[in-house]
Amino acid sequence: MPIWMLLAVFFALLILTGLTVYQSQFDLGNAEIWLSLTIATVKAALVILFFMHLLWDKPLNAIVILGSLIFVALFLGFTLMDAEGYRENLIYKSTVKASQPGAKGDEIDN
């Protein structure tokens, strides 16, 4: 890989890091996490494609690493979906409002 390309990628990564630090100073509500995740993903893509040469690598290697993300998605997807679903069956500390005197945390109540 030519040196200019290495340097260009590096500076792009630095700029994106600056950008993500900068945007974190504003309160963007829910959009914030998605924005910072998007920036992180762009950075990750730069690293993978250029520094890790995936752009020039055998397609098999690309399939291998991208394929693994499907399984990550599966794992996180089902687990989080389920946790969302059963949460209402649980009582735990953070839902205990100060206005509920005597309420106890910890117990799981199905």
Partner: protein
């Protein structure tokens, strides 16, 4: 087919080569020549000794459980000890025996030879895997000697966080962590070997089905096992540092532990069964002397099982407090995974149809496998059905189900494969008649042990209990008698094999008439397997492979 005309002969061994002077067993000698070997065949044999010893250890715990349950109360173990015994039984059998059994022992020995290469891609990593396994064993023995490991093989939180002896839990979870990496590296090695090292002519669809099965297994090992790694690592941190991620006392979520655990452990049951299915594909075709029926379907179904296996883990958690939607989704998905398994069973039966069946020890084990695995697989379906499982969960029905697939399936296939490739590995023939007797005793003993457990389960006998209602006593006693019979059968099998080492006649190059590449290597194979890359043909073309009385085995007649 033009492929059929090509002789499958390796220049290394020559046609019907006699017992070789030099082979991998006497290539070098001395303790270090084994302990530091990079030869996949020696590593395979070391694994074989290791996993069989673990099996013996786990088996002793099994017999302790069964003897304890002879009477409905006041068994010979205390309740606390009973809990530890079934935990050790399960954990040793799963992590030290059944997961490494076929891939690491038989797979290591056979994969490069069947593929026609000199070794696996990363021989040192291979040796490293073996030593990780040994480390795992040591950690498990540590947990055993500390005593107090009573969490069940599943290490469910919060119990595993709270149970008395933290040291034992730590040792065991760390052992599982290390064993996981041993398994990962074996899988990784196999994938790379199959992908990059096939010799010319060895296309994907000329690969023996055992290799397809091993390949699919390796995919699961690489994708699922890391999650087990992080799960047990977090669990260790939970015990050591009280991090609370799985601890409800600290607001952690114990159901998540189960998600983590089963994301690995359901695919792991396919790590256990897929290589067994691969063995059966080989055994069926060789001992029926007939090409495998539906080669491609068997190959694809292996990969399909590996992938579908990732979609169903929730069926272990129906009663754990999962959300309703999730239980329904997982229940529905569970049924898909039985399809590829069924495809395989049909294909094996199709292979037997009009075949010239040689009834010998490996074939008897293979037949036992088909019978037992079918029962095991079919009983998985009612368990996967949400409404039924609400009642059957954690009963002896589940115990019987997984013993039918794991023991009736994987172990029996492993034994079949062991007998099948024993002449290749050791260069010695075993006594086939006594071998068949062992198969018969194992089959009878197995069914006697576990069929009653289906009945027990449907009548409401919960698993992992040290005492039970008196009405269950007869069935439990039947099961205990069965387990002793089973033990005798296994002992006979062991004796047959050991006897052959000392008194067996020399094995011919091709004792059963197989067409895959390992049968053109001498028995035992030379150090380098093949001096030059072998000529590769159809692995299931039995044309011209005929019995030669002079050799005492089969030779390829051009």
């Amino acid at each position: 087919m033009s492929v059929a005309d090509r002789p499958i002969v390796s220049p290394a061994s020559g046609e019907g080569a006699a017992y070789p002077e030099h082979h991998f067993l006497n290539h070098t000698s001395g303790f270090l020549s084994w302990a530091l070997t990079l030869d996949h065949k020696r590593i395979g044999l070391m694994y074989l000794v290791g996993v069989m010893s673990s099996f013996a250890l786990g088996g002793m715990f099994a017999l302790m459980i069964r003897l304890h349950l002879w009477n409905f109360k006041d068994g010979w173990l205390s309740n606390q000890t009973y809990n530890q015994v079934f935990t050790l039984h399960g954990a040793i059998m799963v992590f030290l025996f059944i997961i490494p059994s076929i891939p690491a022992a038989l797979g290591n020995f056979l994969l490069p030879i069947m593929l026609g290469t000199k070794d696996v891609a990363f021989p040192r990593l291979n040796l490293g895997s073996f030593y990780l396994w040994v480390t795992g064993l040591v950690l498990f023995l540590t947990a055993l000697s500390i005593t107090g490991l009573d969490t069940g093989w599943t290490f469910y939180t919060p119990y595993s966080i709270e149970t008395q002896k933290g040291g034992a839990v730590l040792a065991a979870t760390f052992g599982v962590f290390v064993l996981g990496f041993s398994s990962i590296f074996t899988g990784l090695n196999f994938i790379v070997t199959i992908n990059t090292m096939r010799p010319p002519g060895m296309t994907w669809f000329r690969m023996p089905l055992f290799l397809w099965a091993t390949y699919a297994t390796s995919i699961i090992q690489v994708l699922a096992t890391p999650v087990l790694g992080i799960t047990v690592l977090l669990l260790s941190a939970e015990r050591l540092l009280g991090i609370g991620i799985f601890d409800p006392k600290l607001n952690g979520d114990p159901v998540t532990f189960q998600h983590f655990f089963w994301f690995y452990s359901h695919p792991a049951v396919y790590i256990m069964i897929l290589p067994a299915m691969g063995i059966i594909s080989e055994l069926m075709s060789v001992h029926c002397h007939k090409g495998i029926f539906g080669y491609r379907m068997i190959a694809y179904s292996s990969v399909a099982i590996a992938l579908f296996g990732f979609l169903v883990w929730g069926h272990h958690m129906f009663t754990s407090g999962m959300a309703d939607v999730t239980t329904i989704v997982f229940s529905a998905l569970t049924f898909t995974v039985s399809i590829p398994s069924a495809i395989k069973v049909f294909n094996w039966l199709g292979t037997m149809y009009q075949g010239t069946v040689s009834l010998n020890t490996p074939m008897l084990y293979a037949l036992a496998f088909i019978f037992l695995f079918t029962i095991g697989g079919l009983t998985g379906l009612p368990l996967g059905a949400l409404a039924l499982d609400m009642h059957m969960h954690d009963t002896y029905f589940v115990v019987a189900h997984f013993h039918y697939v794991m023991m009736g399936g994987t172990l029996v296939a492993f034994l079949g494969g062991l007998f099948h490739w024993w002449p290749k590995m050791t260069g010695k023939m075993f006594n086939d008649n006594v071998g068949m007797i062992s198969a018969a005793i194992v089959f009878v003993g197995f069914n006697l042990t576990f069929l009653p457990q289906f009945v027990l389960g449907t009548r409401g006998m919960p698993r992992r209990y040290a005492t039970y209602l008196e009405e269950f006593q007869d069935l439990h006693r039947l099961s205990t008698i069965g387990s002793l019979t089973l033990g005798i059968g296994l002992l006979v099998a062991l004796l047959v094999l050991l006897h052959s080492l000392f008194y067996g006649r020399r094995a011919p190059t091709n004792p059963w008439g197989g067409a895959t590449l390992e049968w053109v290597c001498s028995s035992p194979p030379p150090h380098d397997n093949f001096a030059t890359a072998p000529t590769v043909g159809d692995p299931y073309d039995f044309n011209g492979i005929e019995y030669d009385a002079k050799q005492g085995g089969y030779v390829k007649k051009a």
